[in-house]
């Protein structure tokens, strides 16, 4: 059996809703609609790392994970994903390097893995990957795990001339986004067992040809199913999800615009503030008694400029990327919702056809049942991922907004300290004057 099918089933929520069949017996309902994905020899151009063609369907680790999760679910019903998952796969993206050849210039990132999973031959890997490779992985995950929400990658295309693709800032931001993407995949109870991820993390060279061929096939099958069919009744929970995503998308867009506008206002404020400080400094030059106080004010203004700069930089590098990630996440989520609708449409279509045919001759209803299973599995996976995503989102935004407030507090604290020390300086001078007067 293809490995990932079994793994998909072993997703905790998927299993819970797809019936009580034993894990080993069940076939992923979607498998009928797709080519078997068992990696052929040409796909695995691996010179090192774990061979991907020999995963065990119901690996002990998966089972263990599942049971573990079920146990813990009861103990912490409020926030089931916060800290109950066993982390046995740790990934990091760092150390960007620029490669210049006659053909092209590109950036690679180091992808480091530490794991105790038996699917990996070694406990540690370190490979270099470029953006394209991440893109390949994401496409593979989306194709092989269509019922799941795949975390987004940072935008592929950047406007030439507007953004310098090789600037330190751009590379740093992209690296962080890639790191986030990979961590989210590695933390996912189903996606983290995908063999493509395994290959991506451990193979020295990735052969990506197979992936591209597959993409076009899936695209076609999706088109066939879609066929302009209108759903009878979309379950209310999915309607709610769609509505939620629309509103959330709108609000995030607004927040993004506000944040960017704040950055712009702050940078203009900073420009003026710098000049303001300079004028105090030049005034100090033409004074005697007031020289030190004025220099003090100039210094204070400079300190405030520095504090503001730190805050703005942090906003640009920490705050905005998270907003972007979630805006892209919404797209991924909508995509999954669409696919779910298609799967429901397919089921309803077949059911209708079967009812019509029923009057003429008694064809087996297994096809219809298959479709129903498929849809139910889809629903279950989606609901599980939704819960998971909501929980992540809550954590992420809590952290993001708390961080924003914190950065503002820090900024004001730095400024306050500067002005307070200025007052000390000015008043010290005053008491000096007073004592010299009385003498």
């Amino acid at each position: 059996l293809p490995a990932f099918h079994a793994m998909s089933i072993s997703a905790p929520r998927g299993l819970a809703s797809s019936g009580q069949k034993p894990i080993t017996e069940i076939l992923h309902p979607l498998s009928a609609a797709e080519e078997p994905l068992s990696p052929g020899p040409d796909e695995v151009g691996l010179t090192n790392g774990t061979p991907v063609e020999t995963p065990s369907p119901a690996s002990a680790s998966v089972l263990f994970n599942r049971l573990q999760l079920d146990d813990d679910l009861d103990s912490d019903a409020r926030d089931p994903y916060a800290d109950t998952e066993t982390h046995d796969l740790f990934v990091t993206v760092d150390d960007p390097k620029k490669h210049v050849s006659t053909m092209e210039t590109y950036i690679t990132y180091r992808v480091s893995t530490k794991t105790t999973r038996i699917e990996f031959d070694l406990p540690e890997y370190s490979v270099r990957r470029r953006y394209q490779d991440f893109d390949w992985l994401r496409t593979k995950l989306e194709d092989s795990q269509p019922t799941h929400l795949i975390p987004p990658l940072p935008e592929k295309f950047v406007m030439k001339g507007v953004v310098d693709r090789f600037s330190e800032e751009f590379v740093e931001t992209r690296m962080k986004a890639l790191d986030k993407f990979l961590k989210r995949v590695a933390d996912h109870p189903v996606l983290s067992f995908n063999p493509h991820l395994n290959a991506f993390l451990s193979a020295k060279d990735l052969n990506k040809r197979q992936g591209l061929a597959l993409l076009s096939k899936v695209g076609e099958s999706v088109k066939n199913v879609a066929g302009g069919y209108k759903l009878r009744v979309r379950p209310p929970e999915f309607c709610a999800m769609g509505e939620y995503l629309d509103t959330f998308n709108q609000k995030l867009g607004t927040i993004d615009r506000i944040a960017q506008r704040i950055l712009k206002e702050q940078s203009e404020y900073l420009t003026e503030l710098r000049e303001y400080g300079t004028v105090y400094a030049s005034w100090a030059g033409s004074e005697e008694e007031l020289q030190r106080p004025l220099e003090g004010v100039a210094g204070c203004v400079t300190t405030c400029c520095g504090a503001l700069e730190d805050m703005s930089e942090n906003m640009g590098q920490e705050f905005l990327p998270v907003l972007r990630e979630y805006i892209l996440y919404i797209e991924s989520m909508k995509n999954v919702l669409r696919k779910r609708d298609q799967s429901q449409a397919e089921y309803e279509g077949r059911l209708e056809a079967a009812v019509l045919r029923k009057q003429e001759d008694r064809t087996p209803v297994t096809e219809v049942e298959k479709c129903q299973d498929k849809m139910e599995c889809f629903n279950a996976d989606l609901k599980a991922d939704w819960e998971r995503w909501q929980s992540n989102k809550r954590q992420d935004f809590k952290q993001l907004l708390t961080g924003m407030a914190d950065k503002n507090v820090t900024h004001y604290e730095k400024c306050q300290a500067a002005w307070e020390s200025l007052i000390t300086l000015l008043q010290d001078k005053q008491t000096e004057d007073k004592t010299s007067e009385t003498n």
Partner: protein, 434 residues
Amino acid sequence: MADSVSSEEVAVISNTDITSTESENNIINTMVERGTALLRKLEINVAEAEKRTGKNTVNMQETYTVYLIEIRPAETEGGTPAAPDTLWRRYSEFELLRTYLLVTYPYIIIPPLPEKRAEFVWHKLSADNLDPDFVERRRVGLENFLLRVASHPVLSNDKIFFLFLTEEKGWRDAVLETGFQDKADSRLKSLSAMFRVKNPDKRFTALKQYSDELNSVISQLLRIRARVADRLYGVYKVHGNYGRVFSEWSAIEKEMGDGLQSAGHHMDTYAASIDDILEEEEHFADQLKEYLFYTDAVRSVCRKHELIQYELEMAAQDLAQKKQQKEELATGTVRIFSLKGMTSKLFGQESPEQKESRLAALEQSIQEGEETVKEKNTECQEFVRAAWDDIEHFKEQKDKDLREALISYAIMQISMCKKGIQVWSNAKECFSKM
């Protein structure tokens, strides 16, 4: 001419450990030295401003502002405060008083009036003369002007100034009777003429240069401060948008909803807080503006010194010429080509009698000239002495005032930081509960 201030009369007002509201109230007090003769007897306030409508000189309807001046005897120990004497004055009357002082005391740096029209404003601030905030700031400025004059060792003794405070009706005539305007006109005419002083007093040259520098740096500072205020206003107000969007977003969230909603309120508070902050900062701008206008007063003293110096030099030059003429006449030699020399050559020698009477006339004129030079010299010396007394007094006052102003500015900044910390800490608490 000038009574110098004895050192114990200069009260040093300490400013340790003041909160921002206190500092605001102290702004006026710190600007003025207490304890001069007039202020010891009188308490002076510009208590309120009122809008009035009336006919002006060309019989046109106009709206103007009048200011209520209150004076009352300074509080004596144990006594109940007496009811104040009050009178109303227009800004133009303040201007007249100042012009009078300027002409009458050319060697004194006359305190400036607050601006007639709002300058260096950031865009949210109204530049309208009848705007209540502007009128209020001008009221404070006018009171400050009166206190400055009342605390000045020379100006506080001026009779016209006293009448300004006490005689609502008769004052105007009294000022005009002093004939200061005639003096002003002739002096102004000579001021506007380009004159060259041969031996300028280096101290005054330096002072003039300093006041030019001060003028340019303060106006630069005020301009940039207005821009800084504009930008800061923008930064705060844009945060207000978070208030709305958080509140809207909270509607679709379950666990996060409450936190977002209340954090949104804090963002509204944050955005609103900038109005008061910048309003308060205007006091600092006003303090700087006073010194910007002071630079004109300083330059005016320098110019008047130049004028006196010029008059002295002209008198000395005149005298030297006459002496030369006398020498020429006595020796019969012409050192410098002159029309007189030419005529005497062309028309032959004068008779001894003629020569004698001319010599006597010249002698007389030289004596007069020497008298004038002596006079001018004394005048100039007296001017320099009196002016320098006042300049020293001014410098001391300026250093003290500006230091105080910087302290109160720093206190304002601290209070702004504290407000910011407060709001963001509250918001942080809401966020962390999400």
